[in-house]
Amino acid sequence: MASGKRLDGRGLLDHRGFDIRARIIEKANGSAHVSLGKTKVMVGVKVEVGKPFPDVPDQGVLTVNAELVPMAYPLFEPGPPDENSIELARVVDRGIRESKMVDLKKLCIIPNEKAFVVFVDIYVLDHDGNLIDASAAAAAAALLSTMINKFEARDGEVSLLPETIPLPISNIPVTMTFAKIGGQIVLDPSLEEEQVMSSRLTVTVDKDGRLCALQKGGMGHMTIRDVRECVKLAIERAPQLRKSLLEAIGYGKD
């Protein structure tokens, strides 16, 4: 890596590039499949009518969950979510929530009583590194493809109409993960790279180039200089990555 080349031939700051297919599960309100190199993640979005949280009675509800499906990796085991799947879900959740990607105010039906609940379920199918970025991209693509039913509220009762409209979206965050390996910083680490990295930093940038989430991970430390560098790179590269994500799913065309 000292020569500036990685095992898979990439340069240090080359991204493997997302291959995205949206609307692949007919029974879900929204869905997407993302390949990032050999990493494969699917996200399904289901939207149901439920109750708003009492502390935000005028907003819909967003919940993100991640399953590290046992078929994806020899060390993934069935059972309740472990700390890795919880961290993955919560980092993706923060990117979506803090950027205000989903306009939750528009998902309230009757304040205090009824609201749409948006379930984002991340399904990791093949683990070849950087699950966070693949999952965040898949979640974003799935939300952008999500259709919800129009509704009528009468006397506290909600009836869903057959006609559908897109989920109200007010921002599109993009997430980039950097890994520190030896003295170098690499973007979008592969599984082999994750196994030898000392630490990683995940940066989520919203459409206005603001940071909306950060997460350092791994057993090592990261110098202040490296942190500044990663954040700068992420802000610089976010627009291009967002553009390629939107082009891949044909967003804004229909």
């Binding site: 979510p81 700390e83 890795n84 919880i86 961290e87 879900a89 919560r90 923060r94 929530r97 803090e98 950027s99 630490s199 930093l201 919203d206 180039g209 603001r210 940071l211 909306c212 989430a213 950060l214 997460q215 350092k216 991970g217 791994g218 057993m219 090592g220 430390h221 990261m222 110098t223 202040i224 200089r225 942190v227 500044r228 954040v231 700068k232 802000i235």
Partner: protein, 250 residues
């Protein structure tokens, strides 16, 4: 006025925050080392209204055996909030938030611990938040560093942590719970001064690039101040008291 009816603007009046602090002031911090009898190392920390007890056991035999590592100690960390530590009772079972925080705190301390000195053993860190008021993961890290040192575990450095946030459009150091809930951003930072390195970094909310740069600098500057307080707390226990305290950690 009850806290719940505050608006973000109420949090900053004429440059003063609800608890009377300026934007760049820490809450009062109290640290005490060696507070528990059975644990190999322990510390108690008060950070504003946060009251946190930390215990360290180990290096000791790894349980279950398969978690033992051939080349270093396994570090385990449990961050847990007491049911009575918050306004509304928190069920005692670990929440997803606590599980994530346990992981990031472990990863914040691990870079400082010379775990390669104790292969096949485990070092267990227990952080109990007895009262929580915003910034408890940082206060927990500050206490855990002290407890590790108290247990006599060799370390590269002490880890010091504090958070920087944004309220009513302005950077603010060390957010309390209301400030965090009504504020626009929160960024906890853990730092090892000797390496000028970050061991924990999280952020949620919204920061421009400039706000982030200024915020990181403010956090680092105050981690250094907390670091001095930690050294002071260890000195109080091990140098000035002499006698009993001085032999307890050997």
């Amino acid at each position: 006025m009850p806290m719940s009816q505050l608006s973000p603007e109420d949090l900053l009046r004429n440059g003063m925050r609800v608890d009377g602090r300026r934007w760049n002031e820490l809450r009062p911090i109290k640290m005490e080392v060696g507070v528990l009898d059975k644990a190999d190392g322990s510390a108690y920390i008060e950070h504003g209204k946060n009251k946190i007890l930390v215990a360290v056991y180990g290096p000791r035999e790894a349980h279950p055996k398969h978690i033992a590592l051939p080349d270093r100690a396994t570090i385990k960390c449990r961050y847990h909030m007491a049911p009575f530590s918050v306004d509304e009772r928190k069920p005692p079972a670990p929440s997803r938030r606590e599980i994530e925080i346990s992981k990031v705190i472990r990863e914040a301390l691990e870079p400082a611990i010379l775990s390669e000195y104790y292969p096949r053993t485990s070092i267990d860190i227990f952080i109990e938040v007895l009262q929580s008021d915003g910034g408890s993961r940082c206060a927990g890290i500050n206490g855990a560093s002290l407890a590790l040192a108290d247990a006599g575990i060799p370390m590269r450095d002490l880890v010091a942590a504090c958070a920087v946030g944004k309220i009513a459009g302005q950077l603010a150091l060390d957010l309390s719970d209301v400030e965090d809930k009504l504020g626009e951003a929160d960024m906890p930072v853990a730092y090892m001064p000797t390496y000028d390195s970050v061991t924990l970094l999280q952020m949620d909310g919204s920061f421009t690039h400039d706000e982030f740069m200024a915020g990181l600098e403010l956090a680092v500057e105050n981690c250094k101040r907390i670091y001095q307080m930690q050294k002071e707390a260890l000195r109080r226990q091990y140098l000035e008291v002499g006698g009993e305290g001085a032999s307890a950690g050997r």
